[in-house]
């Protein structure tokens, strides 16, 4: 294993994580619900009651890059790692999987682990394990 240590990236990751944690806690304390992105987007897609909250949250996420651009002058670099068929397959799997599991990185990974939920710990270990395995398969075994 070859580990990359980049202090600026570590600091940015920690600071970004703190903002995400604050946003998730604000959702729980302010609105009484879990800031689960797959759940809120899924509710919007499914036609859940009180959809204004779902729509407003998703709208905030969509406009976050504009706010970031305003604050910092440029967006962080992005490099895609998947071609079109891979993106479509990945999106489909993420959509189906997060609904079956009732949560994703935010709902289980951030909110659930913050609540010390055994259910969310199992979900997080499952998706992280599958993620490590998928990357190993695609980038080391099948190339």
């Amino acid at each position: 294993m070859n580990i990359i240590w980049n202090p600026a990236a570590l600091l940015a990751a920690l600071a970004g994580g703190v903002l995400i944690g604050l946003a998730a806690a604000w959702m729980a304390l302010g609105l009484g619900r879990i800031a689960g992105i797959s759940g809120l987007l899924g509710g919007l897609v499914d036609g859940a009651p009180h959809r204004t909250v779902h729509a407003a949250f998703v709208g905030g996420l969509l406009l976050a890059p504009a706010l970031y651009l305003l604050l910092r002058g440029e967006l962080p670099a992005v490099k895609m790692m998947a071609d079109t068929p891979q993106l479509l397959l990945a999106g489909l799997l993420v959509g189906i999987g997060t609904r079956f599991a009732s949560g994703c990185t935010s709902g289980h990974g951030v909110c659930g682990l913050s609540r010390l939920s055994p259910r969310s710990l199992v979900a997080t270990l499952s998706f992280m394990g599958a993620g490590f395995a998928a990357v190993y398969l695609l980038r080391h075994l099948l190339v």
């Binding site: 990359i4 604050l22 806690a25 999106g91 695609l138």
Partner: protein, 147 residues
């Protein structure tokens, strides 16, 4: 009026969440794959995203849970509804694994997908459209499987 105030809060929370994702590096698929690629040049920085989020989340969610146990509402007046912590089922594990495979293929999970779409990244739109299609497929698929 109460609904409008709640929507305003939800919008601000979405903005804060999205800025956090952008700042952290979670919305860059190359970084996510670098984190998931243990056998390659491993970039551990994204572990700190979850670490930072949980560090502030632990005390604040404790507060939310204690309010919920005392039947106190959230600041907006809406009841605090937090999901159960038990119930480790096959659908939880298998669903999470499907999600993890998709995450590993593209390096994008739901939040970053929406943020990439908002950054006007064309592949982000493709990913989000497929994810929404997957979410729409869930109900009929679930029905067919439980029959």
């Amino acid at each position: 009026m109460k609904h409008r105030a709640q929507a305003g809060q939800a919008f601000a929370i979405g903005l804060l969440f999205g800025v956090g994702l952008l700042l952290s590096g979670m919305s860059n698929p190359q970084k996510v794959i670098g984190f998931l690629d243990l056998a390659g040049a491993w970039d551990p920085s994204l572990a700190l995203v979850m670490g930072g989020a949980i560090a502030v989340g632990l005390p604040l969610f404790r507060l939310a849970e204690s309010r919920s146990h005392r039947q106190l509402p959230s600041w907006s007046g809406a009841p605090i509804h937090l999901p159960g912590k038990s119930g480790i089922t096959p659908r939880l594990v298998l669903g999470s694994m499907l999600f993890g495979i998709g995450w590993g293929i593209a390096g994008i999970c739901p939040g970053p997908g929406l943020v990439l779409l908002g950054s006007l990244q064309w592949p982000g739109l493709l990913f989000v459209l497929a994810m929404v299609a997957g979410m729409l497929l869930f109900r009929p698929l679930d029905k067919a499987l439980s029959r």
